[in-house]
């Protein structure tokens, strides 16, 4: 546990990828396979559900730290992270367990799940007493299911690849499904991750998808594209769909559908199962799942807003009505495997050619080809991009014709650019503030924004909240906003303060839809703060009519 805690602190302390990579390598070089197995699991996002109810943990911590409950609460408010608060308040241990991560997780932590409160109250204190403070912090993070650290799966992949002298793609491939809740990390599993490549490995994949290749944002003005990207003809342009990125795997007569989070979602999209019958075994498609049905106004079949798809995502059971209201299709845009062969190292244009054949030979209407746009030059393409909003797409994707299919956000095998349309923006008023978490624990950094419910000059207008946002300010700005919040507080309820409206911010968001759940009647997607409009008095903030105008 000590070694893993040290790794956690090293990763947590730095923002440099190189330093993180070094820390990972140092850890994996010395860790026994059974510990490394769990480390990979946690670092690449695996998270067993909470093992002990928070309430019980708090009670115990208050008792052990010998503090009044209110003081524990004050401390938590200052720290902002429950696991860290525990580690700072529990009595410092004289001992420090040398047992490894695997022992701790398997023998000490996982068995806690489902124990009666009395048993827990008996077992936890002696367990904590074996841990030094840093190990205690990590242990608490694992117990509360809140272990998170700033490393990407890609970085873990790279560390293991370098350690074992393997291609990072190969390691990424092996890592797919590693964090599945159903499977528990084992030393054998870890050794398989870093083993030399074998012939059977390819044959034994079952329904495993490939790691997704991800796009980078393109933000330069179109005038620079020639210099930046070369001629438009070197690029394959497609719409950027606003749906769920998915891989469809057909092998051994079976179909699997994976989302970008490498979650198996086959059961969520029954209408796509028809595709299984017309794809040959050994075929893997990459594409976007969208709601695909006749538009209420034009009757033409078109992609529907993401909000509709979202209604399906949260549901455990899919009723007939929901399936009828929000039918989906897969818009395919890449071919990763064909006739059982990995096609990722072939250039984009070849994959596209073959993809067109594959989709063309499949009669299922729920499988469509994501069309390729043709353009005489970049300006022509820019004009086509202007129609994005009316088509319900987020902009364009640009894929180098020669590029291979990489892993994650790699750029060394060619690049995918997402050239998104500019977001919607409104000027809104800050009315509530909440303390942040982790890094921003002692600052009021999460804000609720409102717009006026009537135009300027109306006799009795008020502010209606419509969005929450917590990013987009520099640390310095955040500190001044924080100070103003403290000064203009009207009321404090727990971690939230209401403030006298005085600060206007320009908010950006990607989508907007009607919503019954929101007081304003409107829900926005991905709201974020662009800038603090210190030049604007609150009276000049936007009103609901502005938002409604964006709805069309």
């Amino acid at each position: 546990m000590k070694a893993f805690a040290e790794l956690y602190l090293r990763l947590d302390a730095t923002t440099s990828s190189n330093a993180k990579l070094q820390a990972l390598q140092d850890y994996f070089t010395q860790a026994p396979a059974e510990d490394a197995a769990w480390a990979v699991y946690f670092l690449s996002g695996g998270r067993p559900r909470q093992l002990v109810p928070t309430r019980l943990l708090r009670e115990l911590a208050v008792r052990l730290s010998d503090l009044p409950e209110w003081l524990f609460e004050e401390s938590y408010q200052a720290v902002g992270d429950l696991a860290e608060t525990f580690s700072l308040l529990l009595p410092e241990s004289e001992h420090s367990s040398d047992a490894g991560l695997a022992y701790w997780v398997e023998e000490q932590l996982l068995p806690l799940r489902g124990l009666a409160p009395n048993d827990l109250a008996e077992r936890l204190p002696p367990l904590w007493a074996q841990l030094d403070r840093n190990s205690l912090l990590v242990c608490m993070k694992l117990i509360t299911g809140s272990f998170r650290v700033g490393v990407s799966k890609l970085l873990v992949t790279r560390a293991l690849a370098q350690l074992a002298d393997l291609d990072a793609k190969q390691v990424a491939q092996r890592l797919v499904g590693y964090t599945d809740l159903r499977h528990s990390p084992t030393p054998e599993g870890y050794l398989a991750l870093i083993a030399p490549p074998s012939a059977e490995e390819h044959a034994q994949r079952g329904g495993q998808p490939y790691p997704f290749f991800l796009a980078h944002a393109l933000q330069q003005p179109v005038e620079q594209f020639d210099a930046l990207l070369g001629p438009v003809g070197d690029w394959q342009a497609e719409w950027k769909w606003d749906g769920i990125r998915a891989q469809l795997v057909k092998r051994d007569g079976q179909l699997w559908i994976w989302s970008r989070g490498e979650e198996l979602v086959t059961e969520r999209f029954p209408e796509l199962h028809a595709i299984a019958t017309c794809l040959a075994d050994g075929t893997v498609l990459d594409g976007e799942i969208v709601v695909w049905k006749p538009d209420t106004r034009t009757d033409a079949i078109a992609v529907q807003p993401f909000a509709l798809l979202q209604q399906r995502i949260g549901r455990k059971t899919l009723g007939k009505k929901l399936l009828a209201d929000a039918p989906v299709a897969l818009l395919a845009y890449d071919l990763l495997e064909w006739q059982g062969e990995d096609w990722r190292n072939r250039p984009q244009y070849q994959r596209r050619q073959q993809l067109e054949q594959v989709v063309g030979n499949c009669a299922a209407s729920v499988l469509q080809l994501s069309p390729v746009l043709t353009a005489s030059d970049w300006n022509d393409l820019a004009r086509q991009r202007e129609t994005s909003r009316s088509l319900g797409v987020e902009g364009l994707m640009l894929k180098a014709r020669e590029s291979l299919y990489g892993v994650g956000r790699t750029k060394d095998m060619g690049v995918w650019w997402k050239w998104k349309i500019d977001p919607f923006t409104v000027d809104a008023v800050l009315i509530y503030a909440q303390r942040g978490h982790g890094r921003r624990a002692s600052l009021y950094s999460d804000y609720t924004f409102a717009v006026w419910d009537a135009p300027a000059g109306s006799p009795e207008r008020s502010l209606v909240p419509f969005a929450k946002a917590y990013s987009g300010l520099s640390d310095a700005e955040m500190r001044s906003v924080d100070a103003l919040i403290r000064k203009t507080t009207i009321e404090t309820f727990g971690p939230v303060r209401s403030v006298t409206p005085s600060m206007v911010f320009e908010l950006a968001f990607e989508g907007i839809a009607l919503s019954k759940r929101h007081k304003s009647g409107i829900a926005v997607r991905f709201p974020r703060m662009l800038r603090w409009r210190q030049d604007k008095p609150v009276e000049e903030a936007d009103d609901l009519a502005t938002l409604q105008g964006l709805l069309s």
């Binding site: 503090l67 401390s75 200052a78 700072l88 410092e92 982790g438 640390d475």
Partner: protein
């Protein structure tokens, strides 16, 4: 009767007709220590503990009207017996003991209970009423012994050296910087000091405190290979400024009690945070308060409400004092009210 009350100008002693650490100019100012929030310019008369004179003169000007008093000696003024007692905070820092008609009050200024070798260690003084600071008045603040922190700094410095990187350590220029210099292993490599730190090193040396040899960082040319071996001590305000560019590839760190929390550590955006404070931690505050035997405790700058409530629950008569202290430890790192 109350020997100290809060006035708009500062903490005031009515029978003695003088102020302690006033934040607005007054006639008579008794100064606990030389940090900027406790000793301000513009007062007619200054009185401080003898070892603090050098600091006060270097910060407020050689020409201030300053009277000094050795620790433990008394001075009678309008019937009030006044004496200074070590606060262990920085060079010359003192608690002020006031006695009048059998009543004894002690104003702590800022204090730290762990001795550090750069100033006279904290001495508890029995009193009826104790005026305490509360900068780190939450139980999450507990300090490791300073030697462990110095070992961490040494190891970090050595590690950077091995990688050919300069080691830039941010710390408050007066007190903390000298304490670090006094405590670290100076044999590791050359030590450079920022222009804000160097004059204070001189004052400490003149007071007989061991400070290893330091060089003024401004004298070293850019890209001098010496930089890659060196430890550079600089105030937090130097971070992010163009001054930093001269060091090329460097690792930076921040030494402060606030570094105890991961959140503040990360918000600082430095490679390392060393938990080192010149203020008492939570156990230190409670210990010091207990040692005075005071039944009444007035709490100033920091976690005033928390400490007041806690002490009340322990059966003490505790109250908050509103002051304008608390900017010295770089308030921006905490985000919490420290004034």
């Amino acid at each position: 009767m109350d020997l100290v009350i809060a006035r708009p100008e500062g903490l005031y002693c009515p029978p003695g007709d003088f102020y302690i650490d006033p934040w607005r100019p007054v006639d008579r100012a008794v100064i606990t220590h030389g940090h900027g929030d406790h000793s301000r310019p513009g007062n007619q008369h200054y009185l401080c503990a003898e070892p603090g004179a050098g600091i006060l003169r270097s910060r407020l000007g050689a020409d201030i009207n300053l009277q000094t008093l050795p620790y433990g000696q008394t001075l009678l003024h309008h019937g009030v017996t006044l004496s200074f007692h070590p606060a262990g905070h920085v060079l010359g820092s003192a608690q002020v003991r006031l006695e009048y008609q059998g009543e004894v009050w002690v104003a702590s200024g800022d204090y730290k209970v762990e001795p550090d070798g750069t100033c006279a260690p904290f001495e508890p003084v029995r009193c009826h009423t104790f005026i305490t600071e509360s900068t780190f008045g939450l139980p999450i603040y507990r300090w490791q012994p300073q030697q462990e922190i110095f070992e961490q700094i040494n190891a970090w410095w050595r590690d950077n050296q091995a990688k050919g990187k300069a080691s830039v350590l941010f710390s408050y220029a007066f007190g903390k910087a000298q304490r670090i210099l006094h405590g670290i292993d100076a044999s590791i490599g050359p030590i450079l000091a920022h222009g804000a730190v160097e004059p204070l090193n001189r004052v400490y040396r003149e007071a007989g405190v061991y400070i290893p040899e330091t060089r003024y960082a401004g004298d070293i040319p850019r890209n001098d290979p010496l930089l890659r071996q060196a430890l550079i001590i600089a105030p937090p305000s130097a971070g992010g400024s163009s001054w930093m560019r001269r060091f090329g590839d460097y690792s930076d760190a921040f030494a402060s009690g606030w570094m105890r929390l991961r959140g503040t550590r990360r918000r600082r955006g430095v490679d390392r945070g060393f938990v080192l404070s010149d203020h008492a931690d939570w156990p230190g505050l409670l210990w010091a308060i207990g040692q005075t035997g005071a039944e009444r405790v007035m709490v100033t700058h920091g976690s005033v409400q928390v400490l007041v409530r806690y002490l009340k629950e322990q059966g003490l008569d505790a109250r908050g004092f509103v002051t304008e202290y608390g900017e010295e430890d770089d308030a921006s790192t905490s985000g919490e009210a420290e004034a």
